[in-house]
């Protein structure tokens, strides 16, 4: 078994129009810029993108939005230093938004990966984000029922990987990565260093390979924040 992918273009070539894609990252930390830019080259349209944010500047998810690839964003915080790509299209009614509290977003993704179709959370009870959702009382307190979130694909950035798909992450770049790996039918991961099985201590594996379908090595990957500070634009 070898899950190695041999080019970024190949890695994302399987993603069709209309796909739902989870993209790892919190702001720029953990954003799989090289995979996203390869996806922009491939240019599927009408995508639903699940990410904590909605892009920043003119690279990464913001660039996907600028290229009119994204029909809907599912996120907790569609704001950034330079949110124009999303903001303009949202205010013009050209992109749909599902706003989800951050912890609920994380838990819905985990639930999708863990086979839990629904769960109850105190989060959002009594607010407009709970409208239309079932409410149930447990032990005298009210909770909102939330559903799992799954995707056709996940694009994730990790630090070390092996050819079986075992992963470690870099610092707070971990964020949604391990959850999204679980919740997508096809999880594609870019790693800074691709190793043979056995090179990662089994105690320190964060994402076991069972959750990963393909790994591609991208040495010295770009950091979204650094690109934005340099006012980078893609393509």
């Amino acid at each position: 078994m070898d899950k190695t992918l041999h080019s970024l273009a190949d890695a994302v070539s399987v993603i069709p129009d209309g796909a739902t894609i989870m993209i790892g990252g919190f702001g720029g930390s953990g954003a799989p810029i090289e995979l996203i830019h390869a996806l922009i080259d491939h240019r599927p349209r009408n995508l639903t993108v699940i990410n904590n944010n909605a892009g920043n500047g003119h690279i990464g998810i913001a660039a996907m939005i600028e290229q009119d690839m994204v029909a809907k964003m599912v996120c907790s915080f569609p704001r950034s230093k330079d949110p124009r790509a999303f903001t303009e299209r949202y205010l013009a009614g050209k992109i749909e938004l599902e706003i989800v509290p951050q912890g609920t977003l994380a838990e819905r993704i985990r639930a999708g990966g863990a086979g839990i179709p629904a769960f109850y959370t105190p989060t959002s009870f009594g607010t407009e984000l709970a409208e239309g959702k079932p409410v149930e009382e447990f032990e005298g307190r009210s909770y909102v029922q939330e559903r799992w979130l799954k995707a056709d694909f996940a694009l994730v950035k990790a630090e070390r990987g092996d050819t079986h798909g075992n992963l470690t992450y870099n610092k707070a770049g971990r964020n949604f990565g391990p959850l999204m790996c679980m919740a997508a039918k096809n999880t594609i991961v870019q790693v800074s260093e691709l190793t043979q099985p056995g090179a990662i201590d089994p105690e320190t594996v964060i994402t076991p390979g069972i959750f990963v379908n393909g790994v591609i090595e991208v040495q010295n990957p770009a950091q979204e924040e650094v690109l934005n500070l340099a006012e980078a634009v893609y393509p």
Partner: protein, 227 residues
């Protein structure tokens, strides 16, 4: 009727047959006891990755006697070793793998399997101490749930039945049964005969089966090496 005991497969042979359907790189959970035997008969060139409920992926063969590390055990509490590429995780992540549909196949034992795919394998319903372990999770999680079993109980009753009489482990979950006499698929609420021992006639096999055996395609010969 043929003397069943003379022709039926041994447990090792049933395990061997089940192992032939496991692909290279498949993620597999083997139930405690008899199903663990399947790992011995992996096809040449195929390397499945074995999952154990207690938090290991890609464990290997038992260690040499005296070399056991009792913090490195499988769900049956037997000592195991690690393959390169192994990982450890806690129980909630382990069952996220199970429940979340990430395992390619789970192979379990059975008291009874119904033509609807219902499985009874955790309780004889006779009192005593109930113990379920991970069986109820596995049957609703793996992409494919297969059973290996003798075709008959020790008393000679069919284990493949129209409806389970014992407490259920899961509803409509089994899709293939490897028995000591046949390989039987479960499709749309029916037993469909996939392979049978050449030495047993269809009618004899039907007589030993508690529900109608359907035939939808050529029935293969169940041929297994001496083991």
């Amino acid at each position: 009727m043929t003397q069943i005991d003379d022709i039926k497969l041994s447990n090792a042979q049933i395990a061997w047959r089940a192992a032939q359907d496991i692909d290279d790189g498949a993620y597999v959970n083997l139930g405690i006891g008899f199903p663990e035997m399947v790992a011995r008969y992996q096809r040449e060139g195929c390397q499945a990755i074995y999952h154990t409920e207690n938090g290991i992926l890609d464990f290997g063969a038992p260690p040499a006697p005296g070399e056991e590390d009792w913090d490195l055990i499988n769900a049956g509490k037997k000592a195991v070793t690690l393959n390169p590429g192994a990982s450890f995780f806690h129980h909630a992540d382990s069952f996220a793998m199970v429940r979340g549909g990430h395992l390619d196949v789970a192979i379990l034992g059975a008291y009874e399997v119904a033509e609807t795919g219902d499985l009874a394998n955790w309780s004889t319903g006779r009192g005593g101490v109930p113990a379920v372990g991970g069986a109820m999770d596995l049957v609703h999680g793996a992409k494919r749930v297969a059973v290996i079993t003798d075709h008959l109980t020790k008393k000679g009753d069919p284990k493949l039945v129209s409806k389970c009489s014992l407490p259920l482990t899961g509803v409509g979950c089994v899709t293939r049964v490897y028995t000591s006499l046949a390989v039987v698929d479960i499709e749309d609420g029916h037993f469909v005969l996939h392979e049978k021992l050449p030495a047993i006639s269809f009618d004899d096999l039907q007589a030993l089966t508690g529900a109608t055996l359907h035939i939808t395609d050529t029935v293969g010969d169940l041929i297994v090496p001496e083991l």
